[in-house]
């Protein structure tokens, strides 16, 4: 089956295209729109974006493989990112990551067996003054302790 956007997201695409002098400029925002709907970017999505933006598929694929936030494989329903860069590490990011691994029973880069949560490590998320932190589905959780992480993940896995 070929990929298509929902009618609501089609309208968002139209609004996107109005922002730029070229169609190509909508590439990254459109890939985000597609990923929000499809969960990941496969070759069908690449074909779709290329066709809509009048770009060679190879250029779209080039962008997909360049940027870390595009999933090239299916991932879990929820995304947990643990910042591990120095300012967070100085304030206990190592223990936060351990707690996530222990609680979810997986290592960074893996997804829980029920497909609910994908765990990843992140490079600096601009939250150094409120370290350590994790990001869950786009939301920041800051000034964390392992206990607080436990609460957050319990809520996530039982929701």
């Amino acid at each position: 089956m070929t990929f298509a956007l929902t009618s609501e997201r089609e309208r968002e695409l139209e609004a996107l295209l109005a922002k730029y002098p070229t169609r190509t400029a909508a590439c990254i925002p459109l890939l985000h729109l597609c990923q929000a709907q499809h969960g990941h970017i496969d070759d069908e999505v690449v074909e779709f974006v290329a066709a809509r933006l009048e770009m060679p598929p190879a250029e779209v694929k080039g962008a997909v493989t360049f940027y870390g936030l595009f999933n090239q494989r299916p991932s879990g329903k929820h995304q947990v990112w643990v910042c591990k860069t120095l300012p967070c590490a100085l304030r206990g990011a190592g223990d936060i990551l351990k707690q996530c691994e222990h609680k979810l029973g997986i290592h960074p880069g893996e997804t829980t067996a029920d497909g609910k949560v994908t765990l990843r490590t992140a490079e600096c998320l601009a939250s150094c003054g409120t370290a350590p932190m994790i990001q869950v589905d786009g939301e920041y959780f800051e000034n964390l302790t392992p206990e607080r992480v436990d609460e957050i993940l319990t809520r996530l896995t039982t929701s």
């Binding site: 002098p21 190509t24 400029a25 770009m55 990112w81 120095l86 304030r91 003054g129």
Partner: protein, 459 residues
Amino acid sequence: MLTRSEFLTKVYPVEEGWTFAAYERAQTALFGAASGGYRAARKAAAMSQADIVAEAKKANIRGRGGAGFPMGVKWGFMRPSAAKPAYLVVNADEGEPGTHKDRTIMERNPHAVIEGCIIACYGIGAHVAYIYVRDELHLSKTRLEGAIAEARALGHLGKAPFGRDYPVDVFVHTGAGAYICGEETALLNSLEGRRGEPRLKPPFPAQAGAFGCPTTVNNLETIALVPTAFNLGCAQFSELSALHKLGDGGVRLYGVNGHVKKPGVYELHVGVTLRELIYDLGGGVLDDRGLLGVIPGGSSTPVLRGDEVIHAPDEASPMHQWHGQSVLDVPMGVDTMRAAGSMVGTCCATVMAVGTCPVLAMENLMAFYHHESCGQCTPCREGSAWIHRIVSKILDGRATMDELDSLHEIANNVMGNTICAFGDGMAMPALGFLKKFRRDFEAYVRGERKRADARLVVG
């Protein structure tokens, strides 16, 4: 006694301080009688492009993204062209490890950004501004979009803001998780929908930037400071700085993180010292430990030791007035920190207490650079990986002294041999750690210390 400024941060503690109403209340409290909104942009709307640039130069705002280039001078590079439109691009791809200031502006004072964009558009002859926000900052994007919608509804953006027949619009553009897109030409490629690989310069963005058109790229804090500068008068704004005479003017946001009691973001005049930042604003080192070292302005700025003393016996040296004093007592500015052997960078300091293992800290940062190198230039792509691997080997006790020495050679061969400043931004802090903490590295090579005992968390 250190006095905090509150231009950008006045609305920070206010309930719903990100709304237009709160912004205007704060502006009225700071600068007098109500104006109908965006008073600085309104003032600029009545000025010619040349007058705005001349005024902006007097503010002596050194770019807040890290390089410290004078904002007004950059605006002056723009030449009006009938053939091509001009663009303003605001860099909010905040991702330099240790840097957490721009996010606070977007989340808590987005209207300062929008008003700054309008003035900058007048100043450089642009009708459209793109704010490039890294995708992870969802709340920042929401707040900026909200502010843009409010400004549009009030007519402060659109066809003819402030009654002047000069359309101005502002759009938010998102990245997708690549640190390199904070480099201005990588950012432009990313804005155009391509891989975020830096471009060769020249041409500079002012000649051929976004979509092949003349473009000014400014850091988000730089742009957010513009309304304050124009409200006070740019010359007066510049004089708020302790380093005004060095052409480093105004106020700025300082961040402090790592091993301090009160990490956070604080607004003060330019020229606060690291001692003031760490001990007065940051509340001192955790557990009242000694200070091992501090990275003054983001991970690309070379680390300074806590016990480092300025050595400038030559009276002609710009650092002579601080000769024999602690590096912590030098006012932080673009030129002073460079002369002290580091950089002011983004002015967000990462503090490391005694007990932190500097080799482990370097390994953490080199893992970051290894991961984030875009791979376009061989010296950076290979060099960042080699340095990371060798530091790991040193920590594991498997490296020789020759390998430790080879780190200098690798770093020096990256420096200056790449398209963009990422290579230097990786090599400089690498050399900084090696030079400042040589004995720690040697102890691992000799087997006197073990990775299992190395700590980043103290106490």
